[in-house]
Each structure stands twice: as C-alpha cells, then as structure tokens.
Subunit: 290 residues, 2 copies
C-alpha cells in the first residue's frame, strides 16, 4: 500500500508540474505552482484514482481529472486565505499565496487554477471523444460551484461571529468539505465506467468520509498540538467558529466521527476486487492525526 | 435590426435571470445577479449568437453559451474591480460588487460565476450529447484562462506604473480584451456547425474587432466626457496606464482603429446569407461612443 500510495503521489505531482510549466507572464504560473506544491497530501486526486480503479477502470484515464480536482481544491484554499476572507498568513507552515506573492496575484492564481481545471477536463473529453468525461466534469463542476464549495464558503462567512445552528453547520460541512470528496469519488467512478449503482454507492461513501474528515478536523483543533497540526490549535475557538464540537459537544463528535468513518470503511471493504487501495487509503485518511 | 437586437437582449437577460434565481445562501446569488444585471450591453453573448447564426446554426442552441460567456465576462469585471486589483468603487455608474456587498462576497461571486459558466456549458454538452458543445466550451475555457484573460490581467498588473513596450501592450490588449470576443465568435461558429474555414475566419475577425474595440476604449479615455462614458475620463492617464495612444500616439491609434474595424466589417459583410445581424451589430460596436 505505502509503495503504491507514494507511486501514485509521484505521478500526480509530475503531471501537475507539466500543466503548470511557466510561460509568459511567468509569475502567475509560479504563484499557481507555489500553492499547488505547498504540501498538499493529494487526498482528492488519490480518492478519484482509487474510485476509478474500484469500479474496474484504468487509473491512467483518470489522471487528468485527478490533477483538475487538486487544482480546484488549491484555488479554494488560495481564495479562502485572502485578507478579505480568513486572512491567513500561513498554511501547512508555509506562507499563503498572497503573502508570498501579493493579493492581486493570489486572486488571479486562484482564478487561473479553477479555469485550468475545467480546461483540462474539457480537453480530455474533447480528445477522447467520450461522454463519460463530460459527465465527470459536470459532477465536479456542480459540487464545487455555488451549489457546492462556493455556497459552503458563503454560509461559513455568514456564520462568522455568531453561533450557527445545526442545520447551518451541516450545510457548511457538507458543501465546504464533503462536496469535493464526494466529487472525487463520483467522478472517478464515472470515468472508470462504474454502474449507476456503484456510482451512487461511492457518492454516499464520499459524504460519510467527508463529514467524518471534517468532524475530525474540528476535534483536532481542540485536542492536538500546533506542532503536530502544522497550524495553531484552538483557532476555531479563537475565531469564534461554529464547529461540530461546539454544536454537539465532544462526546457526540467523537461518536459520530467513529460511526461515519466505520460506515465508509465498511462500504469500501467488500466493494469490489479492485477496491483495496481505496479501502486502505480511506482508513489512513479518517485515522489522520493532522 | 434594432428590434431583433432588443429581442435578443431580452432573451439573454431572461435566461440569465433563470440561472441566477436565488436559493440558500441567497446573498451569493444576489451578488452574482447584481453584477450580471449592472448595465452590461451583452456584447459577447450577442456576438456568440450572431456567429452561430452566420454559419447557418440555430441561435436557440447557442443561448446557454451566450449566458455562460456573459457570466465569465462579469466575473473578470468583479475581480478586476477589487481593492487589491484596480480598486474601483463604481462601474457603469453603479457601485462595484465589493462596494455594494463586501470584498469576501465579491470574490466568491466571481468564483461562482466562473464556475457556473462551465457548469452551464457542460450541462448543455451532457444533455445534448454533442461534442460541438465540448469543443465550444474548450475554446472559451482556453481563451479565458491563464493563456487568455487571466494572463492578460496579470500582464496588465505587472505593467502598472511603468511604461509597457509595444509587445507587452499588444499582449494585454489581445488577452485582456480580444480573447473573449474571439471566444464568442469562435464558440458561436462551432455550435452553429460552421466549417473549419468559417470558424477560422470568424476567429480572425474576432481578433480585429477586439483590438479595434480596445483602441477605441483607449481613445475615448482621452476624447470623451465623463457623462457620456459613465466613468471618469482620463483615468488611464491618471493611473499611469500604458494605452494604445500612449505607445503609438493618437494619430496612429485612430488610423489603426479604422483599419481594423473596417477589415472586420468587410469580413462580415459578405460572410454568408445569414450574417447580416452580426455585420450590423459589429458596426454598432466599433462605432461606439461609450
């Protein structure tokens, strides 16, 4: 597993590098590349490849989409970190894009990455002449737009400095975190040629996995250390953010996290003959300590 | 002509309204809609529909893409107006998105519009099961990303407060202005089922038209009045912006503007039996006084 994981990460990184090879005006490519290579764990691309494989597809076919979803994830981080949004100077221990470059370049780098992701997906669909790629791109598009992550980030901003209710919290966790994880699994399954049923199952597993991942995030903000986490602990509390823990309490958070991650793991364990990578990786993911 | 023009503008506006009908969290749809309905003349959508018609296609088929390209145009304006970019409080006499709402919402409204444009194009391709829509979406994507408008805006930022050379100026005018006009004509021609030759001709005309449009913009910044223009005249000069006039002088600017707009008009005049709308509209466009 460890070997295959590293091999896949290497392939994803080398493809990402190709897409971001600088031409004039170089600084925008550099800023895009800086954030794409600022320590991301390639979680969404790995899930996308794993889902493609799990339904019997060829992971090479899904590689462009794996890169595209990482670019989309990165663009959301760059824009979320901006002074007008979360105003973060550091992410994963490195300067954020607007601190390393400037605010204008960071806005454009985010725009460029979002646009490039769609270019890559469309280019793949156009050259392979296969509507599966159109459906997969639409899936990702729907889950990262105003009905997905953009909507989630909006709701998150609106709930700042006031106690969000359960419904709002679940909307934010669903749209801001789970949506792109669902998108990865669903798009991977579509590209891999999965049946309607398989695609639906992986989408549901993506939801459980995404919410579990976010609950763990909320828990770690309280129980971890700054050293392990790579960002200040207690920042949610300090920033008066509504979290799963603040709404439901630590005990229920821990219980729900366990229930959801176990349900996701159970769904993947016997999913197919080819789902062992996805199963093992999902276990790594939900067991995360940072 | 006038009647058909107004009819098409009405159809575009009513379609745009449908796409932007607010659901939770409403404020983001409102901000997106605010800027989309802040007085845009629908130039790019009208060109896209006209190109589709000129090659013998049905304009109804191109309507979703007409809306998509207007959303992309609007997103570039919202982000360009941000404090970290051009820092404009007004556009077309109305408050800019970040002044009307807030900076964070404006960033997300731009992101949401760009993403929604791709969702609409992909949805059309997926439901019509026709690769022409994929090719048209890819054309637009390529011309509005880092190799297009995002690159152009980057070069524009880099050239601020220093005299850009001819090559840089032409890069900026090409990518920042002409690219989306070319995209409109080329995508329209693709959707309309135009031949390779027709698509190429309209793309070339789009370049002439786009550069002519921008030269006129640079000229009007000096010769017009604030009242007619709806924005302060002399703002390029005041902001130390390199323009066609500052690089080549007013005489050559006027001459080149005339040459390019006439060449574009000539190319459209006898383009086909169905190109009269596009021809008439292009003449209106290059003769603009604001």
């Amino acid at each position: 597993m460890k070997e295959l994981l590293n091999k896949r990460i290497d392939i994803i990184n080398s493809e990402l590098k190709k897409y971001l090879s600088p031409v004039y005006p170089e600084i925008i490519y550099e800023a895009m590349g800086y954030s794409v290579f600022a320590g991301g764990k390639r979680m969404r691309p790995l899930l996308l490849l794993g889902a493609c494989e799990a339904v019997g597809g060829n992971v090479d076919d899904a590689l462009p989409f794996a890169c595209a979803i990482e670019m989309i994830h990165t663009y959301t981080l760059i824009h979320d970190d901006l002074p007008a949004m979360d105003n973060d100077d550091y992410r994963r221990g490195k300067l954020t894009c607007h601190k390393k470059y400037s605010e204008d370049i960071a806005i454009l780098a985010g725009d460029g990455l979002l646009n490039l992701a769609f270019e890559i997906m469309l280019e793949t669909a156009a050259s392979k002449k296969d509507f599966r790629y159109v459906d997969a791109a639409l899936t990702i598009g729907n889950l990262c737009g105003v009905k997905g992550t953009v909507g989630g980030q909006t709701a998150d901003l609106l709930s700042e400095n006031k106690k969000a209710d359960e419904k709002t919290l679940m909307y934010i966790h669903d749209k801001k975190t789970a949506a792109l994880i669902q998108a990865a699994l669903k798009a991977g399954a579509i590209i891999g040629g999965g049946s309607e049923e398989d695609i639906g199952r992986l989408e549901a597993i993506g939801y459980d996995m995404g919410i579990a991942f976010q609950i763990k995030d909320d828990i770690l903000d309280i129980t971890s250390t700054t050293e392990i986490l790579g960002k200040p602990v207690g920042s949610d509390y300090k920033n008066n953010k509504t979290t799963y823990v603040s709404v439901f309490g630590m005990e229920k958070a821990q219980k729900d996290y366990e229930m959801l991650s176990e349900r996701a793991a159970r769904g993947l364990k016997d999913f197919s003959d080819n789902s062992s990578f996805l199963y093992e990786y999902s276990k790594l993911l939900t067991a995360r300590i940072n």
